[in-house]
Subunit: 160 residues, 12 copies
């Protein structure tokens, strides 16, 4: 007897479950990366970017919750344990120790780009099996792309 | 030239820095564990514990931020990267997949107990080198001990 | 001369109008069922489920309003009169009189399942004629499926 | 063994229970009627009456909850199922389809009048057996009579 | 010269003063009982009832204030001193030490029943001498009876 | 054809209408008296009584509105024009010009006493013809008697 | 010895005192007129104008307080007693009894016009003796002229 | 080197960029038209429509911001300069000077219809190149169609 | 098997448990004393002290809850039953009946002094066995000493 | 028959009307310029200035509304149509496309300077014909001059 | 090259700059004086005046900020350093140590009088060179004169 | 007879009194320094640091109040008069006139460092005589050290 029965067919459940699990660890990774930069940033733009990073963390945390509960809703137990995040999250954060503000901007642009790239694929993959999940991923992508624009806009003129 | 100069002597800085770094990863671990249980719990007490877990996560997240910024304040760059959390956090969470409600209660009691045990040692260790940090750890211990009480109270009569 | 002119073609208007009218009565039915259980539930889990039911009623009432106004917007006068709800709403509620808490959980899982099943069909049906209405139904389905998960999670281990 | 024991004598419980059950269905009927008019009204006074109707619905919903919980409190399981509302609610709503604003005003004056008339009888009936319930019905009557005044005031000069 | 002159005749003042003084100590007793249970409850339903008890305490404290000020208003100095509460309050609380959750429910049902029983008598006694005080007692009874219903509903199936 | 039809019989309407009209002008008078004292008070207790008077004005204004709309609701057009207030309101205010704080206290005790005395009669008069209006007057009396207590309590030891 | 010493010369105090006293009674009159119309209005535009009138009353009450306290501040005890308002306020209100909505609009346009006309004179009169008072009167005039515009705009096409 | 790099292919970027730029100017135009009518409307329905217009302006301003930032996010610098709005916005507003209320309703129905018609085309055009932008346009269309319904509902019976 | 296991050694638990239990009854006593004075105070300073007493009651109630839950957290079931408060609370309240304002000030200074004196001893006693509890008692002492200062400041020049 | 009658003489109305119409278009222009820069700014100071620009837009929008309604109040129908803004607004915005942050600062300093220069003239022009309008323009100038200071302060050391 | 360019002519800038600098130090002085009295006051009126003083401090701090930023806006760097306040602020505070409540009232009346006297001169001085600054000083004077009235009203009957 | 009796021994009172008085003037000095920089800062980072400085001022003002009231509580009248602040506060502020943003950062780092250095000594000094005061100083130090970190972090790479 299944614990939580899915409203999807088994094959649809598998595709959508993978998309959600992948998104979950990317968002948890992003929330840890954002905080790491929030604490270790130094440089004249410290205060502005310190605050901006918390807005990325807010998006990541809020959507991580929504995405994980969507997985559970479809009968897929989500996995957000520390070891799973450490080994499977795609976006890369800053190295250990203090980080210069200009470098933080670059790290965030890339971490967001990685996450968005994977999300775009998942939007395509879930369109047919579950438009409800797709809609959730579309909303998340809109927010992350906006964050990416802001970091990119303040990365100009760009470091060669 | 040091990036952020400490208001403590070098030896005090080291002791306090270790206490804070240890506390930081334990709290980040606890926040991931709490969410993992929040998403995967099943059983008749689902709703009540589901909500209770988010209060633990709130405490863990808020204090993780305070603890990490305290480390930075003392000239110790905090390390809260996914891999550091995965390899050094002390509290243990639930296994992968759905978890029965009674089991969640037990997991939380133990995870909190582990974290509190280490905090009690750090309160002693920081008393002399930095009473400001000690006060922060005392406040955190008060909150976590209260959470432990609540889970323990609803764990009665206890499973043999 | 038409009272409210539709922005859709006549055939699209008919398909979408039916989907919205069907959803409206199901939601009004669900809101009455949820309240009936909210008032008549007894048993040790009374308080937790009593509160949970009001969250279902909130979803049902809020979306009933949105769905009915969407119908009016498309030139289809919505019908939410008591007799229409009584005779055409799909989800089934509890019988008259006090209801045991465990039974309430089962009734809700089924009532939500019936409603969601019909919504999944309407999402498909409205995709082409009116993506605006489809988006509304997708948002509603996401909320109802989350409610269903919660009742199902607390319905474990399930009654044989 | 009774599920919820009444604080009233059996004969008092019966009289008061009938008064509350009658009021419950009238209020649920009124809330559906109010929404039906809210969605289907047309005419130059659309916006003002559209908003005013939601205030009637608010009163009806809030008091339906209070009335039903009062019945349960007295050991009388309330019945607010769709079929009960459809067959036993006294106030009459508008016909299906768009309704002209002036007609809505007339329908509301009459629906409120019917409900108030029955409430006045129930205030008398409950005075002796349960002054606590009577006080609740008095408070409700005050609100509904105020709504009736407002609709009547804007119904002047009256249609012959 | 009287300190605060009553707006009632001397005989009315005496009847009403006794009703208010009796209600005051019962409510103060109830607020201490509710807190005692709130702190000492154990068992799987700990969290839900722990929260529910605070709602009883809120009602008791708010009305104790209103009742005492009503007495003062009528020229009757209210007596809510610890020794008066200990010796004259009617409702009985739990014994010293931890209390099992199921037992707490029973204790509250009874404590509320005792308080309500006396209030019903005071409603009758004050009707003629002071309808203003009677109205206050009616409002209080409505709230306490609702609390009693909730505890009773979750006390089902009842312990033999 | 009557503008606003009453839900009361003609004789009941007359009794209740008079009670409400009398209360309306007393409250409007009280609100002007309260403000007059609020502006003209002098003496060491200025600030405390200045604030206290605005609470009396709040009660008077809020209930004046409720009372007038209750009259309209019953088909009795309320009369709160300046000349009607000046010639028919019962409570007496301070004389023109600055007023000593101790005197303000005495003026308020008396103005409230006058108003309450008339209200007590109206509570009796409306009991039978309209319990809904009676309930409103009871609520108002409770508030005004509380204000009177406070002024009287600070009027001790009393001026001979 | 003067109770409250003015910061103005005696002649300035007199001119400004008269301007403020005149404004005070006009505003108190306006607040009573506004409420009288708020309660007695009938006709299809009842609800919209009923709400609009309360905004006029808000302006009148708030500024009456400011104006009276400004007088006191300058050593001029303000006179807002019922009889003073009845005999000296300039704006004229509606006659006793129900008033048709269209007539209310006309009454308000005229009452506001009268008040504004006098205020314009007082702005000129206070410019030299006390620019602080003048600034207050300018702010009040801005608000009243805005109210007048709104009533005038809805009075079009105008009754011949 | 591009200032803000798009996450879309160049051809997709072009199609979506045009859709967003067109929507931006239409919304800025609509916000100016809405305010123009808000200020110049006269007639008995002035107040109700005056308030309703500000809700249209709110929608237009909020979405103009979202749409413009979405364009920037995709690497397309948005153009909302006065001259661009004046020359390229599609919806037509009222003529200069006072406008009768009935005419305002007609102007708004048409301005909204024009904007919605173009949005429906853009929803189709963006479906394939960028579902994230499409979702934004769908949400906007839902809001504008609701506004159109309300103006149309109060435009009945319609001017021949 | 212990119900709630302490994080302290048995000897530490005993010392800290006594300190917390003693503080609990003192605070509950203080909250009843504060209310008793709040209701029975008379004299020209009635209003100011009446309000001030509620701030003492707020402190007492809030900390009573924190202190009792800290005891439970350490495995010590707190005892706040009416009879325990009546027989073991240290601070003394006013006698029965009306109390003159100047006397209330003196009673409060002394009741606070008694409570603070015992707290100072408990701060010393808990320093070593449980710095977490000590920190709680320090925070409480800070608040009570501030209340004592305020009553003492308004007790000057002091009664011989 | 005039639609909205002015409280000013015809000549005063003309002078004041021109001042208000000129201010209106300048503010609408400023709000569009501010948004254009808000969306197109790039460079390291992106985030800080992006937020700052929205505060300018808030001032511009709020005062545009006040200024336009003041014109209507004086019988002058305001003209804020897109074409009027495009052709008559004085302040100049940035060119099309991305704008470097340092350049945005310069553009804003100048746009504000232009607007303030004209406002200073209008303050002089309206002093005599309408001090009420003058007061409004003074308040607006204070806000715009503060914005100009802030942009100028961050424009230092200035570009040669 | 000037840091912040003034919108005033050089001579106007000088006059207005002096008025603002003088006002700034007076307000900073007043805020320190108000707090000094707030902390050191003793006597039966302690609580009421303690609270009242914080309202004076609020006014002083809020306007100090506005006045200093107005100076900067006009190109005049404001000077609010401790030594400047100590040597140039006009109002005089209480002597060191505890101060009797009656004495505090007198000190405040005088400190406010001194500040207002200078402000009245500055209102005259700035009228021509900068009506924007004058308007700010008028608003400040209105608030300070109101504070002065309140202290003066409670200073009656006055100490010989 | 002492005005406010201390709960400390005379020698403890002296040590703690000095620590509090020293902290008070440092905080008042810091609040004036912070505002001076807030008003006079210029340079590209103007806006960000302008806002950051107000957060320092908030901390300084809030703790100045707490520290001064703690002194009064212990029977030590606090001295925060302008001349005392000017002559005894330890932290040094910026020179008169505009200050470049980079220089402001340096000034704040040093002013905070001076204040924190003295606080660290006072934490040691008060530990034994009054742990309640020590706890207050620990809380303050935590906040100021956090501010110092933020200014230091944005001061990197540091000026040689």
């Amino acid at each position: 007897m299944t614990v939580v029965k899915s409203t999807l067919s088994e094959s649809a459940r598998q595709v959508v479950g993978e998309a959600l699990q992948g998104t979950l660890v990317d968002l948890l990774g992003l929330s840890l990366i954002g905080k790491q930069a929030h604490w270790n940033i130094v440089g004249p733009r410290f205060r502005s970017i310190h605050l901006q990073l918390d807005e990325v963390v807010d998006t990541a945390r809020t959507y991580a919750d929504t995405v994980a509960e969507r997985a559970a809703t479809l009968g897929v137990p989500p996995d957000g344990r520390p070891e799973t995040v450490a080994t499977t999250a795609a976006p890369q954060g800053p190295k250990e120790g203090w980080v210069q503000d200009t470098e933080v901007v670059g790290v965030l642009v890339e971490a967001l780009e990685t996450t968005i790239g994977l999300l775009r694929e998942r939007i395509t993959a879930t369109a047919e099996p579950d438009p409800v999940t797709q809609d959730l991923l579309i909303g998340l992508t809109a927010e992350l792309e906006k964050h990416r624009w802001m970091f990119q806009a303040e990365d100009w003129p760009r470091r060669a």
